[in-house]
Symmetry: C2
Subunit: 329 residues, 2 copies
DNA sequence: TTGAAAGCGCTACCAC
DNA sequence: GTGGTAGCGCTTTCAA
């Protein structure tokens, strides 16, 4: 790999001059600049980002922390972030926490030790504050944490929406899968739903769940139908869990949506490929990622006067696990 | 952040000594070592990896290139790699190519500029050779490229297996979704299947497809049933595509597996949550990731005398989109 | 067994 | 406008 010295020698100038044209600052004569650019091309020189980063204490890297890369919701978030930051010349590096606490610490440290310019985190460890004393700005995505900058979907409204759509379409005995207790976003959905159901005096039951993982979901699905065999409307804590419930319901011979309605949360790409296609509350994952990236870049640039906590709208996606709403109902 | 100088001062020794205990090389007296370790703890000092990397021209980072982070197969690969390399003290950084060629170049460059110690790539651009003149070792995963080190599943056997299982269970008019032409692994499956079908003189048709993406898959599913409405056995190029086909088949009122059998490829986590649960050819994604990581680490350590091209076994996973095989059939 | 110092590749200050 | 050079934090000779 050619270094800045090689370029300087080739162009017959000093490294200082090369550095100036590289960073496009300071005075440099048109001819000199041309010389340098030629030399750069001839040697196909690429600046060593490590050396740059050592001096500047900042890199072109942005770190993303994901709780579980296998849940399709999170890759979608990542896509939105990527598209936004690459436009600004940053590169994304993803760390997968795998829902394990020590991994989160490791990655934060790795990010710091490698001088990332900013961090976006979607992890869900309980109220720890390693994020408080970081030198780089942090944005919480699909999460909130004290008054840190954050981007999140409107879970309360989402829960309310899911409950009301279910009841509007005729469900009388709702069952709610509650979602992990330590996850604020999951609790928002839950609280939004039960607040509405209580206000409307609709009968409902609750199944406690502790994760969003594939493997656990089938277990809760079984538990649900054993405990509440005559439920006729289910609010799943997310689409992955909904898929498991759907599967179990069909295995038990339930007619969907005739006997049983089901609404998920997230709207992951596979939801429409399920059978029947899953009705769900859509979180705008891609756009949430984009917003989080924009917010982070503002923080990096030390801009002021912008909204630091962004609530994104959710939307009911009507597919075939819910009935058609009755006309003039 | 404390630096090595601060530690040296605190311990009353030189930075050279601190460096020696940090890297556990050279002579250092027991007492001195203790002093240094205490100082490190008091200051909660973490070495600056950027400075280290600048000197050594090597980091603790391993780069992973994924074609599409949204296809659940790839995150699973990533998990296997992660588990293996973290045991060895490396950290994984993931780059998502999004099936776009320039992004692959960008990431390779970013990886180089940041001195990654090794690269694992699962991307599928057509026969380019940017990988030839890289300073760090490269392992191809779920891909092969010339004689570069690689880890891949036995696609030929997988294709043969899928075809024979379908026929064994009574399908007579097979349709094959071919998969992207530039992807060697996809072509292996295809070739394995048609070789067997020809040898057995079974009737089959082919639908050309050009990607593995969700959005395209439904299109091909429709095309399939329009062109070959009386097909009674389908080999999908992967599970994502199979999900789309399944969905479309049920929409058309086909009885599965009675009228129509279907086999996917990969065995992604959602396959068992589909309805009916998808029969498929399983690639051991997690283990493939682990093997690729092991191979890379051997390359990094400049070991010799080990297998550089690893073919992993595939396996038929019998679920409910295929019929039970007849006893004494 | 330890310390002084050079140097990894780059940026930015100061002189000219 | 341009060049010399200190220094970012670390590792590794080389001397002592």
């Amino acid at each position: 790999m050619a270094t800045i010295k090689d370029v300087a020698k080739q162009a017959g100038v000093s490294v200082a001059t090369v550095s100036r044209v590289l960073n496009d600052n300071g005075y440099v004569h048109g001819n000199t600049r041309k010389l340098v650019i030629e030399a750069i091309q001839q040697l196909s020189y690429k600046p060593n980002e490590v050396a740059r980063s050592l001096f500047k204490k900042k890199s072109r890297l942005i770190g993303l922390l994901l709780p579980d890369i296998r849940n399709p919701f999170f890759p979608e978030l990542a896509r939105g972030i990527e598209d936004e930051i690459q436009e600004q010349g940053y590169q994304l590096i993803i760390g997968n926490i795998d829902e394990k606490y020590p991994k989160e610490m490791d990655y934060i440290q790795t990010f710091q030790q490698n001088n990332v310019t900013g961090i976006i985190t979607a992890t869900n460890l309980t109220g720890r504050s390693h994020y408080d004393d970081l030198s780089s700005p942090v944005v919480f995505l699909d999460r909130t944490f004290n008054d840190h900058p954050s981007v999140f979907a409107d879970g309360i409204e989402g829960g309310r929406m899911a409950a009301s759509e279910l009841v509007k379409r005729g469900s009388k005995r709702i069952t709610i899968l509650k979602g992990p207790a330590q996850l604020q976003t999951a609790q928002d959905r839950f609280n939004g739903a039960i607040a509405w159901l209580r206000a409307e005096k609709v009968d409902f039951s609750v199944i406690e769940t502790s994760s969003f993982s594939f493997s656990d979901a089938e277990m809760w699905a079984k538990e649900l139908f054993e405990k509440y065999p005559d439920t006729d409307g289910i609010l799943a804590s997310n689409d992955v869990v909904a898929a498991a419930v759907l599967h179990e319901a069909l295995r038990l011979g339930k007619a969907i949506p005739e006997d049983l309605q089901l609404i998920g949360f997230d709207d992951i790409p596979l939801s429409r490929l399920l059978f029947p296609p899953l009705s769900t509350i859509r979180q705008p994952a891609y756009d949430m990622g984009k917003e989080a990236a924009k917010l982070l870049i503002r923080l990096i640039n030390k801009e002021t006067h912008f909204e630091k906590n962004i609530r994104m709208p959710v939307m009911f996606i009507e597919r075939q696990t819910t009935r058609k709403v009755e006309e003039n109902g």
